[in-house]
Symmetry: C2
Subunit: 312 residues, 2 copies
Amino acid sequence: MAKYVFGIDVGGTTVKCGLFSIDGTVLEKWEIVTRTENNGEHILPDVAETIQAKIAERELEAVDIAGIGIGVPGPVNDKGEVPVAVNLHWGYKNVAGELRSKLGLPVYVGNDANVAALGEMWMGGGRGTKNLIMVTLGTGVGGGIIINGKILTGSHGAGGEIGHANVDPGYTKTTCNCGNQGCLEQFASATGIVNLAKEELEKADTDTCLKAETVSAKEVFDAYKAKDAVAERIVARFAEYLGNALAVFAAVVDPEVFVIGGGVSKAGQTLIDAVAKIYRRDAFADCKETPLVLAELGNDAGIYGAAKLALQ
Amino acid sequence: MAKYVFGIDVGGTTVKCGLFSIDGTVLEKWEIVTRTENNGEHILPDVAETIQAKIAERELEAVDIAGIGIGVPGPVNDKGEVPVAVNLHWGYKNVAGELRSKLGLPVYVGNDANVAALGEMWMGGGRGTKNLIMVTLGTGVGGGIIINGKILTGSHGAGGEIGHANVDPGYTKTTCNCGNQGCLEQFASATGIVNLAKEELEKADTDTCLKAETVSAKEVFDAYKAKDAVAERIVARFAEYLGNALAVFAAVVDPEVFVIGGGVSKAGQTLIDAVAKIYRRDAFADCKETPLVLAELGNDAGIYGAAKLALQ
């Protein structure tokens, strides 16, 4: 039985790499630069090279390696092919095929947001569960859904694209990067919170420590913790959108847990409490007690999830 | 290899039964009465008896029977147990265990709405797909979600409970049977459409053939087809709720197809077109072309799906 597994998380600027024992202990973590020039043609050769170097350095036997899991920022089909990955400057790329032929080891490929969800299920906030929805509140809103321990990919690779759930079809003040108006991402991402803050600051009639020109999601939550009245209105709108959306998602997939991660989630339990209050108001009776928890693996969720992908 | 499979759909008044060949051809359909007296204690013995009678009548060999699939109106756990089924007057019931011990054949149990979705996937509107969302617009709004050919049960048996997606948390005029306010069922079921009709008729300032006292969902759609201005407003609101909700669901599970069934769906392609227009406005780019189709199996979806459940 194999002892080791590699987890690789390819981002637009760095490739995060992890060598794990198959029980989920990380033995070593390192990073290489993502070289996106020439349509990102160096990326997979660089990944293969760093893995081969690590195998040589640690004198690992092929028979001891369960495989290589890799998360990429784009849709991934059943065969481990990527039709396009804008951040990597890739058009079509047979990720599984190319890495497999270079390494002679099993290769498993997944979308980075979905793979992060798998990581949180394996060794993070969702440990011990097999069904979860991961929500990543960063520059955008990402998501990943795990059903019976497996990633829900969807029929166009759009499974778990919860940032683009249209939660306010009447909203026209800003347009989402996806072209639609009213996406959850427009209200619950770091950028979305800043937009909500600007709207609330424009009509604010009370004192506030927030300034429209420089406001950030972190400042909003800091002011909220200090009971700033305008920050309370901003967080209430954020929580209304996200809490209601999670209640709708629960009526679809009924997860065991929601795991909330990404930069915005650094606001911590305060954020969870605000969102959970709305969630419990709107959720179907059988799902009202479903826990909302903070993600635990931070930027390492991708390498953990990639490793787990190779163990399934 | 087995040649036959039984599909059983237990409802509150009748039990629908089907004998199928394993390729999905229905060989015979029949019904028995659902005897709910004494906490429904006769229901499973009656089911076992009618199956045994059919096996005897047709002189079937046990080795030729793949199994018995059965759909019941309540949540079902992994072991084929039902904690409670109000319409059958059941408390806890080990459906799989009880039928298996009476029949000596493999028994597979599912929730009736989920099983109907499986039936539509196998031999109905979703034939040829493995990922679908079924929406049943009846007295309530039911749902079933199939991922990779399997029912999405959810961690509390609430997977696919899309009628209780809270699509309008600010709505307080009526309360859903589930106790919440703003559930999709309050707007998109036959009852919900009547409620929307009453609201629109109250404020109507133009001539209409609809009357608040007697209006039905069918009359609304008939008037809509005849271009009645008030009916157009009612259907527009119905379509806004349902089309947007389907777009949100698509951003979660990204199905290959939506299958729309139930009594309200008898309005046909006109209804599909109205809902699809809003769906395509609100859906994430990759999911905009996902087809919305009518269910094809009507009240037989349950026996088809139950049979398919026994073949998995």
